[in-house]
Symmetry: C2
Subunit: 352 residues, 2 copies
Amino acid sequence: MKKTLLALGLGLALSVTAMAAQDFRLVIHGGAGNIVEGRFTPEEEKAYHEGLQAALKAGYDVLAKGGTSVDAVKAAINQMELNPIFNAGRGAVFTNEGKNELDASIMDGKDLTAGAVAGVTNVKHPINCADLVRTKSPHVMMVTQGAEKFCAQNGAEIVDPKWFFTQHRYDQLKKAQEKEQIVLDHDGAKKTSNAELYIDPLMYDYKYGTVGAVALDKHGNLAAATSTGGMTNKRFGRVGDSPIVGAGTYANNQTVAVSATGSGEMFIRTSAAHNVHTLYKYVSQDVQKAGDAAIKEVGEIGGSGGLIILDAKGNYAFPMNSKGMHRGTIGPDGKPMTAMYGTEKLRHYSSK
Amino acid sequence: MKKTLLALGLGLALSVTAMAAQDFRLVIHGGAGNIVEGRFTPEEEKAYHEGLQAALKAGYDVLAKGGTSVDAVKAAINQMELNPIFNAGRGAVFTNEGKNELDASIMDGKDLTAGAVAGVTNVKHPINCADLVRTKSPHVMMVTQGAEKFCAQNGAEIVDPKWFFTQHRYDQLKKAQEKEQIVLDHDGAKKTSNAELYIDPLMYDYKYGTVGAVALDKHGNLAAATSTGGMTNKRFGRVGDSPIVGAGTYANNQTVAVSATGSGEMFIRTSAAHNVHTLYKYVSQDVQKAGDAAIKEVGEIGGSGGLIILDAKGNYAFPMNSKGMHRGTIGPDGKPMTAMYGTEKLRHYSSK
């Protein structure tokens, strides 16, 4: 009898564990593009995997303790904003004028509140600045100096713009300027009649790095966030999809949380992140199918890139039409799973 | 026999006329809000109807000659940008710093190309500036000084920022600042912990005026465009839905062209214009139903306003949850039909 009770007790415990296993989830990306085997040294591969692992662990720490999905995506993105290997925060690419202009957006799937900033130059963590817009103002989007002023007044960490300087990004700018070309931070170039805006498809090398995160917390709430440094050598205050709610970022507890990376213009023109939400809601109820359909629309107008998608049941997908995407996920087992090449399976990376 | 032929001939002619009657269409709005009978003097009503009529006729002239839907929406909006009664171009509301910061976006349903500008201060016709971004750059969105520089380099008409000054808007600013409140250019206020961003629901008076246009041309192509001066007393580089492709503006030949006006933040958070596109595509194939559903979602998060929607068959609708919306349409008969109050039927207005 004692044995039976013990067995019942164990059964209950196992069942709880099984439920807990679907309880929370974090999915991230660190940019999509021409990421193919043979391009990266083992040291570079290590840096990407470990950068993703650190971000996943930061978000896991929030979720495992019962924290919110909003706090988890912020924690994960803050890690990547600090890591110069990613084109977000420190390590952002340079504009034509030698500046770093940063964009970010965040959305809470619980109440559809959202915040976004574009063209900020002195906020250490642009995603936190976007979240201040979400929580401390009646607005969704603020740009340039106005956004900086608002975030400073509301407690965001302000840094000297030099904080964002990294030599390798500066070298990319100089190289781009020699060719007098804009370089996308992702695939999807388009010729233009404006010579100085011409984008050379061969310059795809210099793009990777927009970062994003989507999370489901123990309370069943979804959140999505995206942060980027934009395009090397960009001019004219160009804004891509990352700070556009509906294009680069979307979250709704009824459906999915989405973050995009790729040729921003085509993601805006197809409202890519919101498109996944509606495809999931009205067509497929399947994260992979909804994501593939949204990426197909991006591809039909010449764009490429990838999406991370997570639904309220914990299902997730990494649809892409680019060669690869830095990506990863972590759940209740606390084991960060990462990958970067298109066909590569998620694995628990170890350099040993 | 002669009579029969004549009858056949007439039948054919009538049939052709009937087809031609669906041949092209322009639908516009001049802002939504607390537009109720008794608030306006006959002179004010006249000014709104005649302002809408002038815009409709300008677009009609383009469409009747076989011009494109893109050129028609630009022509209609240019008229309204020149008319100080609307909060777009000349007549734009003032920011907290006493400036006029203008936003606009445009989209071509034929190829999904889109252009948008936010926070420009010296471009006479922001919608033309947005269209330059669409046609002369590989980008979709440019903001503030960068956008101004690009548009100037590409032939946009540049004016002294004083061009946008109108006494009545300046008085609105002073009145708002006395109360130290932001005033929405539309319904949908939201309290905030930031006292200086508090929006007084009683200040709804001062908002009307974002303008928009959607058109179907003789070639079967749809286009959509939106232009605005934003919010009186706005701070911190706030950007609303008007320059956000997918929120304030969307066009796709397969479905609909949409322009929004209302509480911009809630239109962004529901990707309102793109939402109509997907609701039409996946749910109803009906402009009114798709629009009502999209407005319902805006309302569910506390927003209000209206939409103009036109599909590729020439069907159109003006769904709204605000008290009224300045609105109108014109087709092959060349007769501008306008209305402003919620339940008011479209009519051929004459002050006589």
